[in-house]
Each structure stands twice: as C-alpha cells, then as structure tokens.
C-alpha cells in the first residue's frame, strides 16, 4: 500500500525535548523513518566568548554548559589549564574535587533517570529523585554557596574549603540515599510497563556505538567497558576501588534504552562507593595555596578529557601566552550523543523517539554551548 510520509516537528517547544531542541521526524503513520535534530536554539557563543575572558573568568562560563553537572565542567576545564601550566594541586584539593565530582555525577544521573521516567509518563519517581538531588545541592550550597552554577574549582585549587559539616552531612546523605536506589528499582526500573517501553528500543550495538563516537553511560550501555576514570585515569581516580557497569541486556538486547538507563542506576551506586572511600581519606591542607594570582600559561596547546556524567568531556585549549586563552574548544558528550539519534530511532515509533532521546540524557546547554 502506498502511504505518504508525514513530517512532524517535535519542538522547539515540546515537553520532552529536554530544552529547546527541534526534532524533525519523518513519519509513516507512527513509524519513524528519519530524525533530524535541529540545534542552536540555546547557542551562547561559549567558545568565542572564552577568548575574550581571562582563564579564571572562563570557569563560570563552563558552569553554564552542562548546567546539570557544573562541577564536572569545572573539573575538566581546570584540569586542562593545570596541565597547560604544569601545576600540581595539593592532595586535599584532589580529594575534594573527586568527591564533588562524584556527587555531581549522582545529581546529574538522578535528573537523567527522573526525566527518563517522566518521558515515559512516570511522574512520581521523577519527584522522588529530585528530592534526593536537592540533598546533594544542599551539600554544594553549604560548601560554595551556589546550588546550580558553582564556579567552585579554580585553576590550582578551590574557591572555598569544604564546610566543617560537609563530611558528616555527606555520610548522612549516603546512608539516606542507598534505600532510594532500591525503591527506584522497585518503582520504575523493574516495572513491567517500563521494561516494555524501554527494552529492545533504540538498540545501539557496541560497534555502532563506537563508530558514532558515543561515550559515557551511552557507550557503556552498549556493552563497551570504557571509562576514562579507569582507562585514561586523571586526578586521583586510580586510588579508588570501583567497577564500571556495562549494559548486559538483562531484559532485552544489549545497548537498548533500558541498558543505558540501568547503567546509570548502577553508576550512582559506584559513585557512592567512591565517595565513601574518599571521604575518610581527605588530608589536611590549604586548598588555595597553589592558586596563581595571574593565570598566564605558556604558549602551547592542551587537550584534557574527563569522564563527565554524560560522557567524555574534553577541553582543547590553545594558549598564546597572554592572560586570555586564544581558543577553547569543547568536546561535548551530549552533542555526540544527540547525533546518534537518527540511527537509533529509525524504524521505531514516535513514542520511542521520546524514550530514546530520554535515554541519551542530553543537555542542550552543552550541545549548543
């Protein structure tokens, strides 16, 4: 039977495009033939802007890229500049950075898991997870005063030392949070309807995932055991004992939406493990000792990559020896993830596009920059 293709614009104003993203869906009935993402609605000229800023002033701008994981954006940027300037930061700073980074990873994953549920119509888990994310934000707030855009990690150190209550409150949080993961699994992860909606949907085999350049939980969901914290270790991640969860196709095929989702659930648990190990080992010291008064790196280039919650976050910085960077290029994980949607969504239904988009966990602030 000859049928006509229909073009449906999903977004830029749509409840489940996670921001201002426009997806152009080519449909045959409800079956998706092609998905073309149109981006740029949130473009803020980050890279160009950075050229007019001093190295220290760029940090608040990195906050605003992946605004759900600002700490990790800072982490990557300061790591890159420190590499360029060859600064060795104190031990205490490294430990605090790792703890903050892992807390941020949990917070980011909680949003990812919650909104994924929301995309599939489960509203309640979303609010439970946001309730717990709030607790992490409280931890950040007592430390640096901000809840979303921290500007916490500076080149060579940290803006504030941790709050005296921080260690106690973090331990309290870990104890409080563990049962929530179990509850989430009962309420959402192993719910039959949820499994039916996500298993065998948006399957991305390992080979294709590598070809597409996916990273982070999206790559691991396809069964590739690759994590920069282990494979290209930075900071002090080599001191901690944790596992890299990968998608195993527990309820469907390896690399489906459910696997990507479940990898995140498991990563939350692994992050808790890292925090537990690190929180007891924080050495004494001064966190602002190594902060240079004027950040003026020598002429040169650097590429530094970190395992951000959404995947491989890389900073390529060119220095011309002045106080302003000559070029800052960001390898944003969400951007690469979004580019995979065309291949992933082909042949599935409109409702699956929402599920696939949700499982990729994109943040438009990072895609458009």
């Amino acid at each position: 039977m000859k049928t006509e293709e229909m073009i449906l614009n999903m977004g830029p104003q749509h409840p489940s495009t996670h921001g201002v993203l426009r997806l152009e869906l080519v449909l045959d009935g409800e079956v998706v033939h092609d998905v073309k993402p149109h981006i740029g609605y949130l473009h803020r000229c980050f890279e160009k802007h950075a050229e007019a800023m001093t190295y220290a002033q760029v940090v608040p701008y990195t906050d605003r890229m992946d605004y759900l994981a600002s700490m990790y954006n800072n982490f990557g940027y300061v790591g890159a500049v420190e590499k360029l300037m060859d600064i060795k930061v104190p031990e205490r700073v490294e430990y605090i950075r790792v703890i903050m980074g892992e807390l941020q990873r949990i917070a980011s994953h909680l949003v990812a898991l919650g909104t994924f549920g929301l995309d599939l119509g489960a509203f309640t888990p979303f609010l439970y997870l946001f309730r717990d994310r709030e607790k992490i934000l409280d931890l950040f707030e007592i430390t640096c005063g901000a809840r979303l855009l921290y500007n916490y990690m500076w080149v060579g150190g940290l803006s504030h030392d941790i709050h005296p209550d921080f260690v106690r409150k973090t331990k309290e949080f870990i104890n409080y949070f563990r049962p929530t993961v179990v509850e989430l699994n009962n309420l959402l992860t192993f719910n039959k309807i949820f499994i039916e909606r996500t298993a065998n949907i948006g399957v991305c085999p390992a080979k294709e995932a590598i070809n597409l350049g996916l990273s982070g939980p999206n790559l691991r969901g396809s069964g590739v055991k690759f994590d920069l914290r282990k494979n290209d270790t930075y900071s002090i991640y080599d001191r901690f004992d944790f596992e890299i969860p990968v998608g195993e196709g527990l309820v469907g095929t390896v690399g489906d939406c459910w696997d990507r989702y479940y990898v995140r659930v498991q990563e939350v648990e692994q992050s808790l493990r890292i925090i537990e190990q690190a929180i007891d080992q924080i050495p004494d010291g001064d966190v602002s000792k190594e902060i240079p008064r004027r950040v003026k790196p020598p002429v040169g280039t650097v590429y530094h990559r970190v395992e951000a919650p959404k995947g491989e976050l890389g900073y390529f910085i060119v220095s011309d020896g002045s106080v302003n960077p000559a070029r800052v290029k960001v390898r944003a994980p969400s951007f690469v993830s979004l580019s995979a949607i065309g291949q992933m969504a082909k042949g599935y239904l409109v409702a699956d596009v929402v599920a696939i988009l949700g499982s990729l966990d994109i943040v438009l602030g990072e895609i458009d920059r």
Partner: protein
C-alpha cells in the same frame, strides 16, 4: 422519582429538566472535588503538599481555577474548522453525561431503570469517540489529530474486553438493567458480584476467582476507555503535548476536563454496580435499625458515592505510580491479553452457571 416530580410541577417537561439538575450538579461538584483530590493524592504520593492556599488545604483551589478558566480568552486559531471545533467539547461532554441517566444512585433516584441499561452506557461511551475525533480533526494540528486517532482506536478496541466481561456479568444477573443488577445484590456483602452475586451453593465458591479475574479485566479495560494513565496515550504529554485538547482553552477545555472526570466516576460506578453491590450497604442499613425510612436513601447514596470514589482514588493511585504504555503495547494488552482472558472467563463462568 419522575412521577413524583411530575406530580409536583404538573408538567412533564419541567419535571424531566429538573430531574437532570441533581445529576449535572453532582458532576460539577464531583469534578471540583475530584480534581482537588487528584492534586492532593499526587502531591502526597510525591512527598509534596499540593494546593494549600485557597480554603482549608486548598479545597477551593479547583473552584478558583475553574473561575479562571471561565474568564480565559477563547482562542480559535484561524486554521481551525470553527464549527466543529466549537461543537466538539460539547459532544464529548453530552455523550458522557447521557450515560449518567442509567446510574442507580439510590433505590429511588435513578434516571431511567431501562431494560437496556449497561448496553446504553457502553453505546454512549463508544460514541464519545466521535466527539474526540471531531476535536482532533477540527484543531488542524498534527499532535491533536494523532491524539484523537489514538484515542478512537483505543476506545473502540477496549470496548471488546469490556463487552465480554459485561456479558459475563449479564449471564450472572440475567438482566441488562443496572437498577435490577443492584437489587439482585441486596442485603449482605456476600451477595455482591465479586462473591458470586445471587448464585447460591457450590457455584458461589467456584465463581469467586473468576469474578475476581472479571473484575480486574473490567477495571483495566474501563480505565483504558476513560483515557487514564497508564493508558492516557491520547493526551500523553511527553509525546503529543496534550493530544486532542492541545488547541483548546478556557471553557471548552474545561468541558473536556469535566467529561474526563465524569468518565472516571462512571467507570467507578459501573465497577461498583457489577461487583460491589451498587448502592447496597455491606452490613444492612442504619435506617432499618432505627426505623427511619428516609435515612435509607441517604445511606445508599453514601455507599454508592463512597464506593465509586474509592475506585476514582485507585485510578489516581495508578496514575501516579505507573509509566505510560506505548500505542502498540496498548493494543497488545487489549487483543492478546484482555480479550483471551475475558473470553475464557466468559466460557468458564457460563459453565459454572450451568451446573
């Protein structure tokens, strides 16, 4: 009831119009209450408080919202099919409202204890589809059209398991009339449909599990017919923005809203009538005990509304627990699961009734 009203007013027309007033008033008040309840239930299930400002714990919040909706600008886009766009909400509302004529609220207040009873209810809840299709098509919006087509497919499909279970229950009671079905379950709660209804002896014990299965099937399929989560595909906000009522605002939107909530109570009422004794009290009436005759209808109203509200609450409870199914899974649930189960259930109940 009608005769009484005709006697008072002397005119049939006035009497009939007046007889509809309590039902209409009930629906409006019920919807105001149910929307508030929905918000409160969802809020407390999500560790929130919900509306707290207007009145005690926000009981008047819905009234305030309703007044706001009435004042809103009535937006009709230039590309809409204006006549159909304007009629559609009323078609949906009226077809839902018509079904209330058959509901026995108490033993004395029943719109029409007609022989067709449940058949009438099923027919008109199917006719809602026409209104929804009208809304979706007249909106001239792809999301609305998708929503309305999905809704139509969903309601038409789920009529089959509903009808099969209704058939099972009709076999049990031997009548289509909802009033007669209720009277068949009088006196104590073990006469309720879920416990085998008026059947006596060994058949009653054998029937209980199958009645339970029938109840679950009817619950699921009527839930789907009223477009509630997990079957709220026509208005699934994460895919279709708001489905067939995307383009509506103000009073017309509130008409859809009214009919959705009226539908929720309707399915609750149908379940109660079939399985939980309708307006019958589970333990006998206080009015009989005290010898006050006028107390009985009030008690009956209380039980009927109370049981109905319980199922409305369960609907809400489900909505705030479950994710939404996909459109093809919706059909899978209907055709591959509910219909075969309902069919076998029908067969077995028939056999049990024969022995």
């Amino acid at each position: 009831m009608q005769n009484y009203l005709i006697e008072i007013f002397g005119s049939e027309i006035v009497a009939y119009i007046l007889a509809t007033v309590p039902v209409l008033a009930f629906i409006v008040v019920f919807v105001l209450f149910a929307v508030w309840l929905e918000r409160k239930v969802s809020a407390h299930m999500q560790d929130r408080l919900g509306p707290m400002r207007v009145g005690w714990h926000g009981v008047l919040q819905t009234l305030a919202d309703f007044l706001k909706l009435l004042q809103k600008e009535d937006i009709v886009a230039s590309a809409n099919d204006k006549a159909l766009f304007n009629i559609a909400p009323y078609v949906v509302f009226v077809t839902t409202l018509i079904t209330y004529t058959m509901l026995p609220f108490t033993s004395i207040f029943i719109g029409s204890n007609a022989d067709v009873g449940i058949y009438f209810v099923l027919a008109f809840s199917g006719a809602v589809v026409a209104g929804i299709l009208m809304a979706g098509w007249a909106s001239n919006n792809k999301y609305s059209l998708y929503g309305s087509l999905r809704s139509a497919a969903q309601i038409v499909s789920y009529e089959i398991p509903t009808a099969l279970v209704v058939l099972t229950m009709i076999m049990l009671y031997g009548t289509l009339s909802l009033g007669d079905i209720t009277t068949a379950q009088t006196s104590q709660f073990w006469n309720w449909g879920i416990f085998g209804g008026p059947v006596l002896g060994i058949g009653k014990i054998l029937l209980v599990p199958f009645m339970f299965v029938a109840f679950i099937i009817l619950f699921i399929s009527t839930l789907a017919e009223s477009n509630r989560t997990p079957f709220d595909l026509p208005e699934s906000e994460s895919e279709l923005v708001a489905g067939f009522n995307t383009e509506y605002s103000g009073i017309k939107f509130s008409m859809f809203f009214l009919s959705e909530f009226a539908n929720m109570f309707l399915i609750g009422a149908i379940l109660v009538i079939f399985f939980f004794g309708g307006y019958n009290s589970p333990f006998g009436y206080l009015g009989n005990l005290l010898g006050i005759e006028w107390l009985i209808p009030i008690e009956q109203l209380f039980w009927f509304l109370g049981k109905g509200m319980f199922f409305v609450f369960v609907d809400m409870w489900l909505r705030w627990t479950l994710p939404r199914v996909r459109v093809d899974q919706l059909m899978t649930i209907c055709w591959k699961y509910l219909i075969p189960y309902a069919f076998f259930n029908l067969l077995i109940v028939g056999l049990i009734l024969l022995i």
